[in-house]
Structures are given as structure tokens and as C-alpha cells.
Subunit: 326 residues, 2 copies
């Protein structure tokens, strides 16, 4: 910056001002500075700027996996929200472990981000404390936490699961299976299970522990889940899948086995990914605002950075998409 200043015949602070508040600098000096910057290929050192101003253009974002379509969409949403603001996303992925999340949060906060976006509300107590003390806007994404760290944007996994389960019950289903990841790992999964159980209770249906199947994400895993469930002494007449991938595997496996969906068995998904409309019949599922969660999360952060008031908890809702598999 000193070089630029010298070449433009001004002091460093004037260069700084030309960069951040072009209107506070005369047109002539600004032109000279711009020319000098271009000639020298000057790239401002954001570390120095951030240090001096205690004020960066970094937003940290922590997700469990980048490869899971739901989170990739959220990252894209946040990234888009920062378009043309000069803000960038500093990414961390926790692999779904609150312990790793804590390590990552600690590390990412070292970069003094202007805000933090974090997936879910399942944090260690230390993570909560650290984030609260960080004195930057924090958005928890994807759920509506009872006790938000700061802000949150998402939808109610509990209500979504409840809605879907009631839908199945109202269609006359009596033995509803539940397929999910191990709930200990994952607060979304927990919420969905709670909503599922509540709906069963409300509809006077029994909960069958032997019809609960935990597995990893994936289409083949859906097939395995179906095989397992059909092997029970009393198989289910419906399956609530907590992800479309499993539902896809099941519907395609049913086609292969000649099992009629939804006549013989109803199958529902979750997330409404691109796949969900590709089976025959299409998968009845819950559409969630994957991209919008990241986008609105980013916007909430930006609002607060600009000193504006921002909502504490934004419920983006969900939608039951009926396609034929239930």
C-alpha cells in the first residue's frame, strides 16, 4: 500500500480511503490511486486490514458434510447471499461430530469472522459458550432450536415428521416403519423420530421398535432396509424414510420384486431431492428449503453486520409433496 501511495503521490491512509470510501476522496486522487493499483497489481492485505479494524469479511460456516446434497445447497445459498459484498465463506466440516465441531469452531473463530453459520443445534456446551462469547452474529441452520445460541433459520423437523406420519395414518396405514440414521448422531434425526412418535400417539397407532431401522445414507441402504423390514414376522404397511435416498432404493426395489407401491406398502421420503420425482410412482416426500436456509442465514448475518435488527428465529416451513408412493 505504501508503494501505491508513493506512486500516486499521496499517503497510505488516502489509498485506504480510496478503497473503502471512494466518495471521501477527490476524483483526481482516486484516479491516480486506481492507476497505481492497476500498474502495481496491488492486492490489499486483508489480514492487516482486519487486524487494524477488528473487522473482517469472513463468515465461517460449519456443516457435517459437503457431499450431502442438503448441505451443499445451503453452502451455495450462503455463498450467493454474500455475492458482491466481498464476504467469503470459510468452510469447516464436522463429519457430524459435536466434538469435532467444537475444535473447528475454535479454529475458525481464530480468523475473527464477522459471523458464524452452523448446521443444527446439537453442540457441546463448550461450543455454545465459545460462540456466545465470540460477540459475532451466529445462525444455527436447519432447525428451530428451543434455546438458540443467537439466531436460527430452518424449519421444524418435528412438525414435518409429524405431518408426514399423520398423512400416512389418515391413509389408513397401521404398521408404520421408521428408517433413519442412528439418532444419537444427529439432532435432525432425533426431532424426526419425536415427531413420528407423537403423531402415532395422536392417531392411536402403536410404535413398533422392531420396525425401526438405522443405517447410513444411500440408495443401496434403502434396499437393505426394505429387505429387513419385509423379513419381520409382521411386516409394515408403510415406511417413513427420513431421507429420499432410502425411499428411492425402496421404491425401485419394490418395482424389481413386483411389490405394488403404494397398494402393498406405502413409502415416504424426506428432503425432496431431484431423485424423488424419478421413481414410478414418484416419492411422496417433505420439501425443505435447503438452499434458502443458507441464503437467509447469510442474509441474517449481513443484516446484523450492517447494524440492522434481524429476526431471532426464522421458520422457513416445509411442504408435503404428494407423488404417489403414499
Amino acid at each position: 500500500m505504501a508503494d501505491v501511495a508513493e506512486r500516486a503521490g499521496v499517503s497510505a491512509i488516502t489509498v485506504s480511503r480510496a478503497l473503502h470510501h471512494p466518495d471521501r476522496v477527490s476524483e483526481r486522487t482516486r484516479a491516480a490511486i486506481d492507476a497505481a493499483i492497476a500498474e502495481l497489481g496491488y492486492v490489499p492485505n486483508l489480514l492487516a486490514g482486519g487486524l487494524a479494524s477488528t473487522n473482517t469479511r469472513i463468515v465461517s460456516m460449519i456443516v457435517p458434510y459437503v457431499t450431502h446434497g442438503v448441505f451443499a445447497d445451503a453452502i451455495q445459498g450462503a455463498s450467493d447471499a454474500f455475492d458482491d459484498t466481498g464476504f467469503s465463506v470459510l468452510l469447516g466440516n464436522s463429519g457430524g461430530s459435536p466434538q469435532r465441531e467444537e475444535t473447528i469452531v475454535r479454529n475458525l473463530l481464530g480468523h475473527r469472522p464477522a459471523g458464524v453459520l452452523v448446521q443444527g443445534a446439537n453442540h457441546t456446551e463448550a461450543t455454545r459458550r465459545i460462540l456466545q462469547n465470540a460477540a459475532v452474529p451466529v445462525v444455527e441452520m436447519g432447525t428451530l432450536p428451543a434455546r438458540p445460541i443467537d439466531m436460527a433459520v430452518g424449519y421444524s423437523n418435528h412438525e414435518a415428521a409429524r405431518t408426514m406420519t399423520r398423512f400416512l395414518a389418515l391413509r389408513g396405514r397401521r404398521r408404520i416403519a421408521f428408517v433413519s440414521v442412528p439418532p444419537a448422531e444427529n439432532d435432525r434425526a432425533n426431532e424426526r423420530l419425536r415427531g413420528f412418535k407423537l403423531a402415532l400417539e395422536e392417531m392411536d397407532l402403536a410404535f413398533f421398535p422392531e420396525l425401526v431401522f438405522h443405517t447410513r445414507y444411500g440408495i443401496p441402504e434403502g434396499r437393505e432396509a426394505l429387505a429387513y423390514l419385509l423379513d419381520r414376522p409382521e411386516p409394515p404397511d408403510a415406511v417413513f424414510c427420513a431421507s429420499d435416498l432410502w425411499a428411492y432404493g425402496m421404491v425401485s426395489e419394490c418395482a424389481r420384486r413386483g411389490i405394488k407401491v403404494p397398494d402393498d406398502i406405502a413409502i415416504t421420503g424426506f428432503n425432496d431431492q431431484e431423485l424423488a420425482s424419478e421413481t414410478e410412482p414418484g416419492i411422496t416426500t417433505i420439501r425443505v428449503p435447503r438452499y434458502e436456509i443458507g441464503r437467509v442465514g447469510g442474509e441474517l448475518i449481513m443484516k446484523r453486520i450492517e447494524g440492522l435488527a434481524a429476526d431471532k428465529v426464522v421458520d422457513l416451513g416445509f411442504k408435503l409433496i404428494e407423488r404417489g408412493s403414499a
Copy 2:
């Protein structure tokens, strides 16, 4: 850090050493410092550290889209490569535009990353210059550029497309259609088209401009492409899809229309995404090292940061996966 030093009864530099070179500090003072850090909840300011040492633990990564599975895998790979190193990924997404990429590169370099990972080799001249002058390791991912900026990791899109096209020709296909994004946008697409044309020539087959279809990524777009191609006066006997999504749409559309794959028409994909094995018949496609590209890219950066020699260009190869659709 001053507070920590005071509380531990040492100077700031000793705290710094305890953090970065624990073995250069006596066990007692280290314990005292660790205690002080824990009590105070001290989070080191990486901006100050980076400024003082001209040495950050940030690696910038620029991809066209986060939501495209291929790039999401690469991000995950790079992120995993940095596990337990304290390095983080600073993400930029260009939307596929070299012009936007230039803006992003400029911005991300301001954070003085220790390395840069960038998708593809299709950059503006200014981007090339800026990256070369940045004096940090740079890895171009996903292609094997003729004129790499610094390092590269990927596979030959040209050879992959050529291999697949020859495969179709050897199976007796004569009128091979080509479905891709508009090539101007995208160097991978360009490379694939070149490989496709070369193979046609080698196999004494004609290239039919009317059998080239450009569209966006997506399953429905695959269906549209198929409809278009079947509507030609002389329809193709094979379709080379530059992405599995289109191939998926086509194979499922063929099933719907009662067209026999591969007897009536052969269909091939590219990337080997999860979908590719889900159609009936499965999609014959090119498996590319999506995750490994990010992973190895990250490792190359790390090697160079550690002062080790690193390969200039790493060819991770590709593999033709034969599944039945061709």
C-alpha cells in the same frame, strides 16, 4: 495473549511458543500457560499471527458450483486433506464464469492464503498472472492443462471422451449424438467434445452437427435431449452424454417409451455418480476421481507448504464402467 502471558507469569513470546512449538518450552511453563488459556478462554488471533509471520493456515478453493456433486466431492476431499493440520478452506464459487473467477481470486488472495485450489484451467489472462505472482502453491483441479499455472491434478477429459467414443464405435454404432453444456462456458466440455471428434475421425465415423445438443445439467434436460434427438430425420443409434444426469433421464425415458436400451439406442454417461447404477439397464459411464482430485490437490498444497517437492501434474486417470446401457 498478553493476558495469558501475565496470568502464567511469562512473556507473550513464550505463550506463542507454547502454542506453536510446545517442545521448546519447559513442561511447567507450558502447563501454566495451558491453564491460563483455558481459564481465559483465549482464542489466538490468526489475523495478527498471519500478519506477523506472513504465513496463514488458509487455503482458497474456487469451484464453479457447490451444488454440483462433482465439485462437492472435491471440496470434501480437500477439506479432509487438511484435517488435523489446522488449515481451513476459504471457499469461492465462480458460477462457471472466468470473469467472476478473476474477481474472486483477487479477493481471496487478499486473505493471503498459503495455497490456492482452483477448478479447471479456463482462466482469464489476468487470473493466471495474479496467481503466478501470488508466490503461493496453486493447483488446478479436474484437468491436465497444457500450460499449468503451477501444479495440477485430474484426468484427461479428452482421453476419457475419446475412450468412450471408441467404445461405442467398436460396438458398431455409426450415428453418435453428443449432449453437453454449451462448450464456450466450460473447458471440460470443450475437451470432451475434442476427444469425441478425434475418436470419430479415428474410427472413420462422421460427425453430425445436428446430433449435438446443448442444455443445462439435469435429469429432465436429459429427457428433452432424447426427445430432440429422436425427432431428427435420421436419429442417432447412440448418445454420448457428458454427464450421468442426462443419461439417467434418457434411459428412464426410453423405459417409459418402450425403447430398448442398448438394442435400439446406446446411451453413455460421464462421472459415475450414484444414480448411474440405478437405471435398468445400468449406465455405462466414465468413473472419474472426484473426491481424490480434491484430496490430492490438498495434499500437493500441503507438501509444498512443508517445503517438499511436489509433482507438477498428477494424472489420476479414469475408468470406463460398463453397465449395460451401451
